[in-house]
């Protein structure tokens, strides 16, 4: 049978038409073999544009369709659907990209038109060999895995659990709550972080649909959308979660105090501990590195005093497998390590502290019970807040960490509220874009805070005159006055930026997520699919995608939950049929493809002696196709004949 091909050249407004002569390309296409219809159109993706294609299929009996327009990522689905509506198998449609790969990267109209003709010609030659394919459907497991119990993960977990679906919430720390649990007040409303967070934490802990797996992490994640298996490592707490009531006897009696990570090392905790009193779960953990029983084989005081016999020194690490249909990754961020900026003297000068350390200082249940004090116990008379530490700096991170301006203003407010200290804010640009944020900045301008515009060059203790003796001197250019200032202060607070987690690479490997160049997880589309990833059924939320404040993190947690719920409600998921197939007769059983497959989709069938691809696991990446020495593997819709036709057309 001779194919009847329809070709449509899209102007995309002026996006394509400005540099490509679309009429000429359509004319060229009409001269190609088997092309019976070729048209150019202003917006082919519009309803009338799609109607035009459907009509041609019905009236001219088209058997193949080529649309030359934007990237398949944008509109392949649109046109496949249109073609299917008119009764044609959607895989008999071929898209040619003459926007991203032609008009947008060309200036010369003549050359761009020639190039567009080549691209269209290749698609026309290829589409002849396109074969009808059927989309497979698989059932959707309604259970959801959420990794990370910060505010984003908590929000997502509650939204999903409230709708009656089962959630496995995995948190690597002994408690959920994330960074927000360590903050004192939240900008710009200054409500207490704990007051708004802990009710949500309690809800998570008590929710019948949430299985909280704290002090745990995901070590392996396999399968495909709708049918994933997560392997979760449960680290031993040495306290039985079932028996423990969280009474806290053990913590009181434990004789050993060590520095508290939760308090940034400013306060102490016991060797058996909960990071903070409202921890969820309230079950403590034994810190094996310090516990006297584990280090010296003595003590066991906690065991003696536990009224429920919940202490169990024999607990071992164990692994559990859970079946889920989708996952939300909300692993958050790490703070920039301020000691990397040597000229700011963090780690050298005791009264140079980070913003998080300040949060613990000013927190009512922190190590100083909320008093802002210097290392010697005195109240500071002057405080400098240094913005953009590790952010907007080509030496460290190029990006703006988004939250620091606002939390720095909050810090200034708290210092002014609790002490008589003079406060200096050293900022580059004041970024207060958010509801109520600019108003908060205005408010601070009236709270007698000195704002100095310009990056701080250094913080030194080398005094140049008597007024600087014994002080920390902040040296900074004031770009509004065009002078260099030296401001002697008692305390310097470094507003450190947000970075991708140090283990983001491992997490990305486990869940097969891409990362942007700054190390944060990459969303599917920065505007239109901000919580989706390239992997179907795997979503991201909160600061693991990029720096975010609490409102944005909560919004993303809820957005990811909505995505997941919409997926679950479809009950089944469609799988792209563009997968690889093995020709059993040609397969020699060499197993090369098995090790190369990044999705563990290929296994070896011993009785028949050849490799087998599990269709649902295959993502159609083509690695095995290229690697097979016998040429026994072919990928649907990317067959040798299709690709050769395409290449030959371009080279002709």
């Amino acid at each position: 049978m001779v194919e009847k091909i329809g070709v449509y050249i899209c102007h995309c407004g002026t996006n394509i038409a400005r540099t490509v002569d679309c009429k000429a390309v359509a004319g060229y296409a009409l001269g190609l073999p088997n092309v019976v219809v070729a048209r150019d159109y202003l917006y082919t993706c519009s309803d009338p544009g799609q109607e035009m294609i459907k009509n041609d299929i019905r009236e001219s009996g088209l058997t193949r369709v080529v649309v030359a327009s934007c990237s398949p990522l944008m509109h392949e689905t649109t046109f496949r659907r249109a073609v299917a509506d008119a009764g044609l198998n959607p895989f008999l449609f071929q898209m040619a990209n003459i926007r991203e790969q032609c008009s947008w990267i060309s200036e010369n109209r003549e050359l761009a038109t020639t190039r567009a003709k080549a691209i269209v010609g290749a698609a026309v030659m290829r589409v002849e060999f396109n074969e009808p394919l059927e989309v497979q459907k698989v059932p959707m497991n309604p259970n959801v895995l959420i990794v990370g119990g910060g505010i984003a993960g908590i929000e997502a977990a509650l939204q999903i659990a409230d709708s009656g679906k089962r959630v496995y919430l995995v948190e690597k720390e002994p408690t959920i709550g994330g960074y927000m649990a360590r903050f004192d007040k939240t900008f710009p409303t200054l409500d207490c972080a704990a007051c708004i967070l802990t009710p949500k934490m309690v809800s998570v802990g008590q929710h019948p649909n949430i299985e909280l797996l704290s002090y745990s992490d995901v070590t392996d994640f396999s399968g495909y959308v709708g049918n994933f298996t997560a392997r979760i490592r449960r680290r031993p707490r040495y306290v039985d979660e079932e028996k423990c009531t969280g009474c806290g006897q053990c913590e009181q009696k434990c004789p050993l105090s060590v520095l508290s990570e939760f308090d940034c090392g400013l306060g102490k905790r016991k060797a058996i501990y909960r990071p903070f009193p409202q921890a969820v779960p309230s079950t403590p953990v034994i810190d094996r590195e310090h516990c006297l029983f584990f280090t010296k084989g003595v003590c066991r005081v906690c065991e003696k005093f536990c009224p429920r016999g919940a202490i169990n020194f024999e607990q071992k690490e164990r692994f559990i497998d859970v079946q889920v249909g989708s996952a939300i990754i909300a692993t958050g961020f790490d703070l920039f390590d301020a000691s990397r900026v040597k000229e700011y003297g963090y780690g050298k000068f005791p009264n140079v502290i980070t913003s998080l350390e300040f949060e613990r200082l000013t927190h009512a249940s922190g190590p100083t019970v909320g008093k802002i004090v210097l290392k010697n116990g005195r109240t500071p008379e002057s405080v400098a807040v240094v913005h953009c530490v590790g952010s907007r700096d080509n030496n460290y991170n190029e990006y703006c960490s988004r939250v620091c301006c606002m939390y720095s203003l909050k810090i200034a407010h708290l210092v002014r509220e609790k002490t008589d200290a003079k406060v200096y804010e050293f900022y580059i640009d004041m970024r207060a874009a958010g509801k109520g944020y600019e108003e908060f900045y205005k408010r601070l301008l009236r709270e007698d805070v000195t704002f100095s515009r310009g990056r701080v060059a250094e913080i030194t203790d080398v005094a140049q005159n008597s007024s600087e003796n014994g002080k920390l001197i902040v040296v900074a250019e004031d770009t509004l006055l065009s002078i260099v200032k030296r401001i002697p202060v008692d305390m310097v607070i470094l507003s450190v930026g947000l970075e991708a987690r140090r283990d983001a690479l491992q997490v990305a490997h486990i869940f097969r997520i891409s990362r942007s160049k700054d190390g944060f997880f990459l969303e599917k589309h920065p505007k239109l699919a901000p919580v989706s990833t390239a992997g179907d059924g795997i979503f991201i939320a909160g600061s693991c995608q990029g720096p975010k404040d609490i409102p944005d993190s909560v919004a993303q947690g809820a957005a990811a939950a909505a995505n997941v719920l919409s997926l679950i409600d479809r009950k089944e998921v469609e799988l792209e049929p563009t997968i690889a197939l093995i020709d059993e007769d040609s397969c020699s059983g060499c197993k090369i493809c098995i090790g190369l497959c990044p999705y563990n989709a290929i296994s070896f069938d011993e009785p028949s002696g050849h490799a087998v691809i599990t269709g649902a696991l295959c993502k159609g990446c083509g690695v095995c196709v290229a690697a097979c020495p016998s040429g026994a593997i072919e990928q649907q819709n990317f067959t040798n004949r299709q690709l050769t036709a395409e290449v030959e057309a371009i080279c002709a």
């Binding site: 040597k342 250094e458 030194t460 203790d461 080398v462 140049q464």
Partner: protein
């Protein structure tokens, strides 16, 4: 005064088996005031030196951090900027020269610390400078802008080397701050202030002398110490010595060979107990 740097650097290098061969027909690196007025021409001067060095198939070792920075900059720009490379190549060609980017620019301090190393240096020490409190002064150019040699703000290389020869490097927070440089000619007020900060910081940390690696820093500290004292009513007396002079002293060379005693702020008191053994 700078002859002392030249002589001591050659002596120390020879002893450490560093094969230094003077570049034929070398020219100014283009630093000094030139680079701020005619940047391209300054780079061309550097490129000419690089081109001559490439013929020798050796690393280009310099003792002056200003030369080091300018040569390194030219090298970097040539590697990264195609248009710049074309311009420079055309200019070099007119003098029948070419440069393929194969020269590594090194500072002698870097060579001694990283290539020669602790064991070799220590094995050459005949008279440890035990107890000599030295302010290690790097100046502003060795580590900037690239930071390839050491930390840009708080380098440690010279501290390390001083400890190998038995001296005691004191804490010197201003170790990589500007000495005033050429401002001494155009804006003496500013330059004297910067100089005073350095001397003050060295004195407060108990330094008996300042070890330098840069001829310009060295000159400013020495020559203008009297002016600083006059201008600020201070009473500094801190000699400046090139790191190679201190090494030579520890290696047992005589004060005459090393040009010690030629300095304008006498090092006699500071070095008394080591000088006897050395001369």
């Amino acid at each position: 005064m700078n002859k002392a740097y030249d002589r001591s650097a050659r002596l120390v290098s020879r002893l450490l088996n560093i094969d230094l061969a003077e570049l034929d027909d070398w020219n100014c690196c283009g630093a000094s005031a030139y680079i701020s007025i005619h940047e391209l021409k300054a780079h061309l001067l550097s490129a000419r030196n690089l081109s001559i060095a490439e013929k020798k198939k050796k690393d280009l070792v310099v003792v002056c951090p200003a030369c080091f920075t300018t040569l390194s900059k030219t090298n970097h720009y040539l590697a990264e900027d195609r248009k710049f490379r074309r311009t420079i190549s055309t200019a070099l060609k007119s003098a029948n020269l070419e440069y393929w980017g194969g020269v590594k620019v090194r500072h002698l301090l870097d060579v001694i610390v990283k290539d020669i190393g602790e064991n070799e240096v220590k094995s050459r020490v005949k008279r440890k400078l035990s107890g000599l409190r030295v302010a290690p002064y790097y100046g502003c150019q060795l580590t900037r802008p690239f930071g390839e040699v050491d930390d840009t703000q708080f380098p440690m290389m010279l501290d390390t080397l001083l400890s190998w020869i038995g001296a005691q490097p004191v804490s010197f927070p201003l170790k990589a701050k500007c000495c005033g440089g050429l401002l001494m000619m155009t804006s003496e007020e500013v330059a004297l202030g910067l100089n005073k900060n350095l001397l003050d910081c060295a004195a407060q940390n108990g330094a008996e002398c300042i070890a330098t690696i840069c001829p310009l820093c060295h000159m400013n500290i020495e020559t203008y110490q009297g002016d600083v004292n006059k201008r600020f009513g201070t009473n500094f007396h801190i000699p400046a010595l090139y790191f190679t002079q201190l090494m030579g002293l520890a290696f047992g060379f005589s004060r005459k060979e090393l040009g010690i005693d030629e300095e304008m702020v006498s090092s006699r008191v500071a070095l008394e107990k080591y000088l006897e053994a050395a001369s």
